[in-house]
Each structure stands twice: as structure tokens, then as C-alpha cells.
């Protein structure tokens, strides 16, 4: 839209979660482009998901925590200055000054500086080995420290684990303790208050929580004040905690999680009013008393206090975006519902958890054996829900939280009983009930996504409404709402493969495997629509299933007619009906003689040659009838089928690794070759790609693959579920420091578990997303054999390896199969006269329709006859 007036300038100080939301909301709504936005961020990276900070330990890639779509920061009206703190504000001149001394004028200014971790005034809090837990850099430093201590411990005369302590037993402290355990360190939580999470849950809940936390081998000391942190005499690092009761605890690492302080120092210096306990005072519109200055997020003191949760901060960001565009939004008050994000420990509290409302009543259900404590706070007539606490089983949290202030149908105690004991009526959420508090999405909006925006699955609803895209605790509820709504619309969420099979691919796989059926005719009669003959969806699926359950050549008997043209002629069809040919180069390794042979074939047949992304050579423009001759020559030169045409293993990409590279710690090429030769020809729901890097520098980009292997000093780390393409994903860590034999078994099982249970055309990343329990389930099945199928999978893979034959070699040996390559059943010597090519950069490409009509210069490659 053309701009009549210069856009006004909005300056945002702070590049955290609420700053991101503000920019996103403003850019989405300001369609006229009336605002230009500059964001100053102290941290050296674009805004990331601080709520998910702990997952950095498993993901290891800061990029993965990034919030929203990167495109926002390429918007021409948005400028993000990372690593650039603002050092002063002049509210009279309406300028800000950054650390480089640059002075920038603003029309409106938003403070979104968040909080810093509070460091308690305990002697020794500045010792090496004492950390806070707020930013990616904090977490990275903590991880590095623990790894270093661990190394040092190994070198010592006796082997002892790293001893960690967390000071502070709130949400953050427990998350940090979980992180220490995940890093292999011991952890003890030191809590000053009477019980854990005393800001959110009552004493009864706290006791239950302590038992659960102990169950994770985390020590808990409540009612304990730390007097001093004492350095080790030998290292000068933190070595001991001294408590006021005279007891002590030896430590190698300490995490401080005693609370947060609003970062209001700039505001104070600029003369803005701050609250009693800090924070920039704002009214219900998020405006400060000084014109043109606003504050949002944790730094804002709104309705008398600062709130250390992201949802109220997001609400403030939305309000400011709205106000900047002339709207009249006001702050509705904070929803302080919280859920602990510690795997294995379910804790949640919402509403009036401490029953502070006058004449409220509490209904408690506790099962100390199972470690469960649940409480609902109700109005005195036991009808209106006011709040609640859940410890050990928070399954009811997602659906009860939005009901605060509403009447609960039926007997409230029914909601506290374990699932399955029945009684709890299905809650029909009111339209206005907030389902996702992080993104402020109501039940009505989720329903509308289905009824009005035609979303038919949870992924579409997430994309449409943003519900469940932050902390994710509302996802079960969103799923339920979507399911109910779809049912209401009469849309059954069908998993049927196609009109011929009511079974899903995974179900059909099991059925075929267990029944031992071997032909399509048999399979469609038993498991599909009687009398039908399938289609372009189910026939290749059956071929793919049979390839694993009853291995045989792709062109064997009836099986040939099930294959897509690519599998049928074992080459990749191109837009003009010619094919491309890709010989295998395991691990991307090729001899000079091999390269020459390929070059000669390409030259003699006039093929267009290009290097693929999978480290091999692709030759285009082969006519169907030329394929056998071309392959005869390639096989002669020692090549075999590269399966570039199949839904099967494609390549194992590798870097050169320790044999040549001065950084490499393992022989990545040797492993890549081993893996490629092991899994070659494995038919799967979609293509499978692997990668192996020789060290953490990751030159093979292995984490962009379905299975990525990265060498460590002690063996191999294996990552799963990565892909490039339309929705790129980074693979996630499955297991660490494996020896080669274990690694191979792990990959065997991962691949076959995927082959058995994924949907058609589903890559490993979406498959894992759909899998109940995701990566954790994969880990349990693959590493702990939780389904008891490991032996089966191992045997299946051994059979695959034993039965492997080069499809092309077998084809050339069988005249019956070679007949399939005749271009015309009645004229075997002819070829398709419509295949025409023009030159491009010294090679050929198919002529366009235009060029054919115009009779443009057509090239006649060496053995390609061209008719015109």
C-alpha cells in the first residue's frame, strides 16, 4: 500500500518474549505500514522461547528456541539490533542512547526489559561455579561447567559424580534441578520456605511434590537458609554450602533460583515511577505516567505488582499493539495459572489455589502411595470453581483451568478421582473460556478454527489460532475440542489409506505381516474392498510393505504392476517422460576410475549431469529403453542402483572425518559407507536420508537428516527426525556416546519402527510428532524395548541385509524383466519422437512447448536421435 506519510517510529527496549509478541502483533495488524519498529536487544540473538529454556539441554541448538517466523526480522519496517543494550532514555528529547553512543529519536517507546535473576546477598554468591538460570548463555555456561567438573572427576583417583545444589525450591529451581540431573549431576534443592513451590501450592501439595522429587533422586531440604557459599581451598571454586542450622553440603556447582528482579534501572534513571518492589508502574493500558512511554512484560508493575509469567506479558504486548493503532484494549488482570515443566512430575495450580476467597471450601483427594494430591477450591455452595492444585496427576488441569468462575456440572469430587473411575461429566467449555493462556486463545476461537476456517487436524488449528504453540500445556484440551467439533460436523477423522482400504498404513502393515499374505490380490480381498483393484495410493504402499515382510525383486511377478513408474523402471521420471539415473556412491565416496566411467556414460548418451544434494551424480534425459544399456555399463564399472527413485534409503552423507580432517575424532566416511550398505534398498513410507559427521563441527549437516550421527571422543551421538524440504527440522538427540555396534542396532530399530508405524508419505519428523509421547516413546521402544518388539525388529533387519541384491543387476539377468523397457509393444526399435532438447550451459534440457512450436534449434546428443 502506498504510504502518504512517513511511518512513525516505535522503539522497543529489550528483545525478549514480550518484545517479540509486540512486534509480531503490530506487524500483523498494521497493514497500512504506519509504524516503523526498532528493537534493541541486550542478548546476542533474536528473541527466543525463554519458557522452553531447559529444553536447550536436549536440543543444544539455540536456533531451535527462536520464537516465531524468522521472516518477521526481515520485514523492511522492522530493525532488530542484537547485542545492543540501550544505556539511557531521555523522555524530554524523546531519544534513546545505545551502548555505541548512538542517539535515536522515537515517537513511542516501549520498555520490555524483563527481569534478571535475583542474586541473594549470601557471601560467596560470586564464586566460580555459581550460576543463575535465565538466558541461553547462562544455561550454556552451566552445561560447560558440569561437563568440565565431570572430566575432572574422572581424572581423580576415585570416580564421583558432579554434586549440584539449587538454592530456591520454586518452579524455576525444580526445573534447574531436573536439568542438573539430566546433565548427569547430583542435585539437592535448598528451600527456605516451608515446602516446595510455596508460591503456587499449599502444604499438602508441597509434601506430595517432595516425595515425587525425591523419587527422581533429587534431594530436598526445606526450611533451610544458606549462610555462606565457601570456596574449595584447592581450586577456589565453590566447594561447600554452610546453612544457618550449622549443617553443610559439599558441592561442585550451585544454581541460584531465588527469584527475579525487574530490570527497571533504565527507567529509574530516566525518572519513571517504579513500584514498591521494583518495576515500571503502568496503568491498565500499559502506559507509564510519562507521555509516549509504555512498559510490558516482567518489567511492568501493573495493578500493583510485576508478574513473572509470560501469558500476562503477552496480553500487555497485545494491548500496546492495539493502542498504537488507535484501539482501546485494557488489561484484564493476570491469569497466574502455572504448570511445572519437569518431565515425570505433574504439578499445576490455578485460580485461588490457597482458598483466600471468603467462605470458599476445599475439596481434597490424596493418594500418598501413588504420590498424588489434588485439591479444588469451590464457592461455599460447592458449585462455582475458584481454583485448584494438582500434584502427581494434573490430567484434569487443562480442562478445569478455563472453568474458573464458572459452575461445574455435577459433583466436584468426581473431577479429582483417578481417570477411568468415571463420574466426571464431560466439560462443555463456554466460548469465552481461555484455553491457551500463553497466546490468549479462547475455546470459541479453537472451535471456529474448525467450523469456520476448515481446519481438520491439530496442526492446522495450531497454525491458525496459535493455541498450544508456547508452553503446550493446553494441547490435550485443544485436541479434545477439535475432536468434538469435527465429530459435530460429521467429519470423521479418517486414517483410512484410500477408498480401497479402511485400515491405516500402519494397521495394514501389521495385518500383512501377521497374516503372511504375499500378493496384492490376496491382500485386497482380505483387508480391502472386495472386487476392487486398488489405486495409485494403495498399490505402491502394498508393494512397499511386501518389500519388508516378504522380500523379493521389485519386478517379481504381480509385484511389478504395483510399482510407481519410478520403481518399475528403477529411475526417476522427469517432466518430459525421460528418466534420470543415479548410481550409488556409498558415503559420497567415489574412485577416479568410477567418476571417469560415469562421465563416459553421460557423454555417450548425451545426458545432462548434475551433482545431487546427497553427494552423488545424477544423469538426466535417459529414454526408458536406454536404461538397461546404461546400467549394463555402470554395473560393468562397479556401480549399483542408488535407489534415488524409491521411497527408501537414499544416501548417507558424510564429511571426510578423522582419516583426513585435522579436527575429526572418528572415521565418519567408514561409518557412512557401512550404514549405506546396510540400509540400501530398505523400502519405507517416505524417503530416508542419513548423515555422519566426524566431529561436532557437523560438516555433513547430519542433523538435517532422518538419522544423523555425530562423532564424539567416546563414540557416536545419534539424532533422529531431521529433514530439509518444505518444513525443515533439526534432528533431536536420541542417544549419546554409543559404540558402533550399539549405534547400528539403535538405527536398525529406529528405522524399522518407523517403517512399521508411519503413515504413507510421512517423514520421520512428523511421524514422531504424531506418535503418542514423541521422542520419549521412540527412546523407550528403541533403547529399552518397551514394546517387546526389539528382537523382532532386529531379525527383520538382519533378513533385509541378508536378502539384499542389486535390483538393476538382477534385472539385466532376466529377459522377462527386460521386456518391460520396450518403448512400444508393437515397435520395439522405435523411440518417442516427441523427446526434444535444447542446449543449456554446454549440456541439454527439455525443449519448452514454445521452442517446439517455433522449431528452435534442437540438439542431437551423441546417441539421442532427434526427429523434427
Amino acid at each position: 500500500m502506498p504510504q502518504d506519510t512517513e511511518p512513525r517510529h516505535l522503539v522497543v527496549i529489550g528483545g525478549g518474549m514480550t518484545a517479540h509478541r509486540l512486534v509480531e502483533a503490530l506487524r500483523a495488524r498494521d497493514t497500512a505500514g504506519s509504524w516503523r519498529i526498532s528493537v534493541y536487544a541486550d542478548e546476542p540473538r533474536r528473541p527466543y522461547d525463554r519458557v522452553a529454556l531447559t529444553s536447550y539441554f536436549s536440543k543444544r541448538d539455540p536456533e531451535e528456541l527462536s520464537l516465531g517466523d524468522d521472516a518477521l526480522w526481515h520485514d523492511e519496517l522492522v530493525t532488530l539490533h542484537t547485542g545492543t543494550p540501550v544505556t539511557a532514555i531521555d523522555t524530554a528529547a524523546r531519544t534513546v542512547t545505545d551502548d555505541l553512543g548512538r542517539v535515536t529519536p522515537y515517537d513511542e517507546l516501549v520498555l520490555a526489559t524483563g527481569s534478571s535473576a535475583a542474586v541473594p546477598p549470601i557471601p560467596g554468591a560470586d564464586l566460580p561455579g555459581v550460576f543463575v538460570y535465565r538466558t541461553i548463555d547462562d544455561v550454556a555456561a552451566l552445561r560447560g561447567w558440569v561437563a568440565e567438573r565431570e572430566q575432572a572427576g574422572r581424572g581423580a583417583s576415585y570416580d564421583r559424580p558432579v554434586r549440584g545444589a539449587v538454592i530456591g525450591g520454586g518452579l524455576l529451581g525444580l526445573e534447574a534441578a531436573g536439568a542438573l540431573r539430566a546433565l548427569g549431576a547430583q542435585a539437592t534443592v535448598i528451600q527456605f520456605g516451608s515446602h516446595l513451590m510455596n508460591a503456587q501450592i499449599d502444604l499438602g501439595g508441597g509434601e506430595a511434590l517432595k516425595r515425587l522429587i525425591n523419587g527422581m533422586e533429587v534431594g530436598v531440604r526445606v526450611g533451610t537458609a544458606t549462610k555462606a557459599m565457601v570456596p574449595s581451598r584447592r581450586t577456589g571454586h565453590v566447594g561447600r554450602l554452610d546453612f544457618t542450622d550449622g549443617t553443610r553440603l559439599d558441592v561442585d556447582v550451585v544454581v541460584l533460583a531465588t527469584g527475579i528482579r525487574p530490570r527497571d534501572e533504565l527507567a529509574r534513571a530516566a525518572g519513571l515511577t517504579v513500584g514498591e518492589r521494583g518495576g515500571v508502574v503502568v496503568d491498565d493500558t500499559c502506559a507509564t505516567a510519562v507521555p509516549h512511554v509504555w512498559a510490558i512484560g516482567e518489567v511492568a508493575c501493573i495493578q500493583g505488582s510485576c508478574v513473572g509469567l509470560v501469558a500476562p506479558g503477552y496480553a500487555m504486548a497485545e494491548i500496546v499493539a492495539d493502542r498504537l493503532l488507535g484501539g482501546a484494549a485494557t488489561y484484564p488482570g493476570a491469569d497466574t495459572a502455572t504448570k511445572l515443566k519437569l518431565s515425570g512430575v505433574d504439578v499445576a495450580s490455578f485460580g485461588d489455589a490457597f482458598a483466600r476467597t471468603e467462605r470458599s471450601m476445599e475439596i481434597v483427594w490424596a493418594d500418598p502411595v501413588a504420590g498424588v494430591y489434588k485439591k479444588l477450591v469451590m464457592s461455599d455452595d460447592a458449585r462455582t470453581l475458584l481454583g485448584g492444585v494438582f500434584v502427581g496427576d494434573a490430567s484434569a488441569y487443562a480442562s478445569l483451568r478455563p472453568m474458573v468462575g464458572a459452575e461445574l456440572p455435577g459433583d466436584p469430587s468426581a473431577y479429582l478421582l483417578p481417570e477411568g473411575t468415571g463420574g466426571a461429566p464431560d466439560l462443555e467449555l463456554p466460548e469465552s473460556a481461555t484455553v491457551c493462556s500463553c497466546n490468549n486463545v479462547s475455546a470459541g476461537e479453537v472451535r471456529a478454527a474448525v467450523t469456520e476456517h476448515a481446519c481438520t487436524d491439530i496442526g492446522a488449528v495450531k497454525a491458525c489460532t496459535k493455541a498450544g504453540t508456547s508452553c503446550g500445556s493446553c494441547l490435550p484440551l485443544v485436541k479434545k475440542l477439535v475432536g468434538t467439533e469435527l465429530e459435530r460436523l460429521g467429519i470423521s477423522v479418517s486414517t483410512a489409506l484410500c477408498e480401497h482400504f479402511a485400515l491405516s498404513r500402519a494397521q495394514l502393515y501389521d495385518a500383512v505381516r501377521l497374516a503372511g499374505t504375499r500378493t496384492f490380490s490376496e491382500i485386497v480381498e482380505r483387508f480391502g474392498r472386495t472386487g476392487s483393484r486398488g489405486c495409485d495410493i494403495c498399490r505402491p504402499v502394498v508393494a512397499s510393505i511386501l518389500a519388508t515382510t516378504a522380500p523379493a525383486h521389485v519386478l517379481e511377478g504381480e509385484r511389478a504392476s504395483l510399482q510407481d513408474t519410478n520403481d518399475h523402471v528403477m529411475a526417476n521420471i522427469q517432466k518430459d517422460g525421460s528418466y534420470s539415473v543415479v548410481p550409488r556412491m556409498a558415503g559420497g565416496e567415489v574412485t577416479p576410475a568410477g567418476l571417469i566411467a560415469i562421465g563416459e556414460v553421460a557423454r555417450d548418451y548425451g545426458l545432462y549431469t548434475k551433482i545431487t544434494g546427497g553427494q552423488r551424480v545424477d544423469m538426466f534425459g535417459a529414454r526408458m529403453e536406454q536404461l538397461p544399456e546404461i546400467w549394463a555399463r555402470l554395473i560393468e564399472a562397479g556401480f549399483e542402483s542408488g535407489h534415488a527413485y524409491g521411497k527408501s534409503l537414499r544416501t548417507v552423507k558424510s564429511c571426510v572425518g578423522s582419516t583426513w580432517c585435522r579436527f575429526g575424532v572418528q572415521d565418519s566416511v567408514a561409518l557412512a559407507v557401512l550404514l549405506e550398505l546396510r540400509y540400501r534398498g530398505l523400502r519405507s513410507p517416505h524417503k530416508i536420508k542419513l548423515g555422519v559427521s566426524g566431529c561436532a563441527r557437523e560438516c555433513a549437516e547430519a542433523r538435517g537428516k532422518d538419522v544423523g550421527v555425530i562423532a564424539t571422543d567416546n563414540g557416536w551421538n545419534v539424532y533422529v527426525g531431521g529433514n530439509g524440504g518444505f518444513t525443515p527440522r533439526h534432528a533431536q538427540l536420541l542417544a549419546e556416546d554409543l559404540d558402533t555396534d550399539t549405534l547400528i542396532r539403535v538405527i536398525d530399530r529406529f528405522l524399522l519402527y518407523y517403517v512399521r508405524t508411519a503413515d504413507r508419505l510421512q517423514r520421520t519428523a512428523p511421524w514422531m510428532e504424531d506418535l503418542e509421547g514423541g521422542l520419549e516413546t521412540v527412546r523407550a521402544v528403541v533403547l529399552e524395548d518397551s514394546l517387546g518388539i526389539a528382537a523382532d525388529l532386529d531379525a527383520e533387519m538382519d533378513a533385509h541385509v541378508a536378502n539384499y541384491v542389486d535390483e538393476w543387476k538382477a534385472t539385466l539377468e532376466d529377459p522377462e524383466k527386460l521386456r518391460k523397457f520396450a518403448p512400444f509393444v508393437n515397435a520395439p526399435g522405435e523411440s518417442d519422437p516427441d523427446l526434444q532438447y535444447v542446449p543449456v550451459r554446454g549440456q541439454i534440457r527439455p525443449a519448452t512447448a514454445e521452442e517446439r512450436r517455433a522449431g528452435a534449434v534442437l540438439v542431437a546428443p551423441a546417441t539421442l536421435e532427434v526427429r523434427s
Partner: protein, 151 residues
């Protein structure tokens, strides 16, 4: 239009075509065709008195019915239809033989050539469904009736 209905009749009762009529070309043996896997054939048609080579796709069903449609893919113009997957689809309660384009997966009714699923694509100008030809199998020989009026 007349071509289409003739093809439909021929398909439902292949032997109904007068196999001795002028314009029939012997193409191949029935046994040259693999059930449910198309094969291309090269025929010579006379158009405006001029001979012209036409590529057709022959499909033999499991019930040994043989059907002929154009080999050219209406969406891309590439000669590939014989390499598509054969199947069936329920149309008005009847199991209808189908052929899917190997390039963009449009599904066609093999008896009438009508497109049953456009898969979100438009045919090229001048193309639509698949052209069909009547086929007869006589003494194990596949014969195709060329429509001399075709242009």
C-alpha cells in the same frame, strides 16, 4: 462425443466391435500385455488423407479386458500414460477401471477417458480427458479400431 460412447460400449463388451471392419489394426498379442500394467503402442492414423503416427496406451485388466487410451498426458503433454498405475474406483456403485498419470496423479476412467480426479491441475489447451479407442481381442490378438474422423 460419439467416440466416447463407442469406446464405452466397446469396453463393456469388447467382442461387440466388428473385428473385421476396416480401420482395425493388429497391435500385439494379448500375452504381450501384463495385467494391470500399461504398454505403449505406436499406430498410424490417417488424418485429412495424411498418415500420422499416434501413441496409445493399452491396458489389460485382470479380467483380460483390453482398453486403449491416449499415451499423451493431458496435463504435461509428455507421452507417459502407459506408465501410470492401473486400479479401480467406485463410480455410482460400479467398480470402474482407472489409470493414474505417473507425473501429476490425475485419475482417468479407462472406459470413457473421463477425468475422475484432476488432482488440482488443469489440462493443457486443447486437451481434456483421455481420448479412447475401441479394442477387440480376436484369437489372442489385440486389435484397435482407429477412428478415421479424428482430427
Amino acid at each position: 462425443m460419439s467416440t466416447l460412447s463407442a469406446a464405452a460400449e466397446a469396453a463393456t463388451d469388447a467382442t461387440a466391435v466388428d473385428a473385421t471392419a476396416v480401420g482395425h489394426q493388429d497391435v500385439c498379442l494379448l500375452t504381450d500385455l501384463t495385467p494391470e500394467r500399461g504398454a505403449a503402442a505406436l499406430l498410424t492414423e490417417t488424418v485429412d488423407g495424411e498418415p500420422r503416427r499416434t501413441q496409445i496406451a493399452l491396458v489389460r485388466t485382470v479380467g483380460d479386458l483390453v482398453l486403449a487410451v491416449q499415451h499423451r498426458d493431458p496435463v504435461t503433454g509428455a507421452n507417459v500414460m502407459a506408465r501410470g498405475l492401473v486400479g479401480t474406483r467406485l463410480v455410482d456403485g460400479e467398480e470402474v477401471p482407472t489409470l493414474a498419470s505417473p507425473l501429476h496423479k490425475q485419475v482417468y476412467d479407462l472406459r470413457t477417458g473421463a477425468c475422475l480426479d484432476a488432482a488440482g491441475k488443469e489440462p493443457l489447451p486443447g486437451e481434456g480427458g483421455l481420448r479412447t479407442w475401441p479394442v477387440a481381442v480376436v484369437d489372442g490378438v489385440v486389435r484397435v479400431l482407429l477412428d478415421e474422423s479424428a482430427s
